[in-house]
């Protein structure tokens, strides 16, 4: 059987943002622009793929009672490595996302995939699942970012096409909830039709 469905599942059926509704903290906080959403999504995907791979490999030898601390240690290691790499090579991105990079450690999506998928599946499946869920998360955050940036700043990916200020509420927290809510409705309506 083809393994591609692991990727598409994560993208649509198990979409972390609009279906599982996980990882809401970075979703609401970092999507003030399309670029920020995209960068946050990619950072999370990096951790997700690597932690899925390692956890699927070590799961058979990890005693059941200490599995959560072991998983969190593995995840925290990858997050710290990512944080150091970003500080060194993309300091501007690190500055925008700031606190939300270390917070990937406690992102429910990452531990959720480790506990719910990677420790029961093989390496290849786990890597593909990480890729799928990571892409789903990245796409969702980017779409929310695009909508908020258009309404709030009249721009997309920093390219301004409506002069003036835009609707400021969409750059701030209330706009994040509104956009997330409406997009969730649209997404689930589309899923129900299928």
């Amino acid at each position: 059987m083809s393994k591609w469905h692991f990727v598409t599942d994560g993208f649509i059926k198990n979409n972390p943002t609009f279906v599982l509704v996980l990882g809401m903290c970075p979703t609401l906080a970092t999507t003030t622009s399309a670029m920020n959403g995209l960068e946050m999504g990619l950072a999370t995907m990096f951790v997700l793929i690597l932690s899925n791979i390692v956890i699927s490999l070590i799961a058979p030898v990890v005693p059941d009672k200490v599995r959560i601390p072991v998983y969190i240690t593995v995840i925290a290691t990858f997050v710290t490595v990512l944080q150091l790499l970003m500080q060194a090579f993309t300091p501007a991105v690190y500055e925008t996302l700031g606190l939300f990079i270390p917070l990937i450690v406690v992102n429910c999506i990452v531990l959720g995939r480790a506990e719910g998928f990677a420790n029961k599946h093989g390496v290849v499946e786990s890597a593909l699942d990480g890729l799928g869920v990571g892409l789903g998360f990245t796409a969702s955050l980017t779409v929310i970012g695009i909508v908020r940036e258009i309404l709030g700043s009249g721009a997309v990916f920093g390219w301004k096409f409506i002069p003036g200020d835009g609707i400021l509420a969409f750059v701030m927290a209330p706009g994040a909830f509104l956009v997330l809510g409406f997009l969730m409705v649209l997404f689930n309506k589309y899923l129900a039709k299928k």
Binding site: A59, V66, T73, L84, A88, F89, P91, M172
Partner: protein
């Protein structure tokens, strides 16, 4: 399939995982330490270049205390002095870098970090009219405060608190500059 949860197994497993993870993080730190330091230095130099006239000399960093607050400054021979000044804004700490040339006039100011309201106070990073007021400002001849407080600065529309904070941060930097000048003068005697 999972190993048995005996005390020995658990302790061994956690120890092994933590050892390997520490080694990985340590390795990543060793590889990235130099690039991180370089990136931080490049950022500081870029900020200094924004607030002072073009310079070729290496900025010398220093710290000075004024009224119980510690300020970091960068002395650039031949160009002036860039002072980092932080005050409370409307939404959090507002940190500025203020470049002052040797004759005591402000060359330019730049926001290093802020958490002001988007579209209102956050305009202190983009409002050309507001920022232009500080360029070439002579603190000896004019008052660093918004017009509402009897000063010579136009506030950003609907963001008086941010504008006040900005003016205060610049005024503090000027006070630091004067203190440094005084100390420098004494040292030369």
């Amino acid at each position: 399939m999972a190993a048995k949860s005996t005390l020995v197994n658990m302790a061994l497993c956690l120890t092994a995982v933590c050892l390997i993870c520490s080694a990985v993080v340590g390795g990543a730190y060793a590889v990235t330490a130099d690039p991180i330091a370089e990136a931080a230095k490049a950022k500081t130099t870029a900020s200094i270049a924004r607030v002072l006239p073009a310079f070729s000399a290496e900025p010398e960093a220093g710290n000075v205390e004024l009224d119980g607050t510690e300020y970091t400054y960068y002395n650039v021979p031949g160009a002036g002095c860039a002072i980092i000044s932080a005050v409370s804004g409307f939404g959090g700490v507002l940190t500025l870098m203020v470049g002052i040339t040797a004759d005591g006039t402000i060359h330019n100011t730049a926001v290093l970090s802020h958490s002001e309201t988007p579209g209102l106070g956050a305009k202190c990073t983009s409002d050309e009219h507001f920022m232009a007021q500080f360029r070439g400002f002579d603190p000896a001849a004019k008052t660093l405060a918004v017009k509402k407080d009897g000063g010579d600065l136009d506030a950003i529309t609907a963001s008086t608190i941010t504008s006040r904070a900005y003016a205060l941060a610049v005024a503090n930097a000027v006070a630091v500059f004067n203190k440094l000048k005084e100390e420098g003068g004494r040292a030369h005697e």
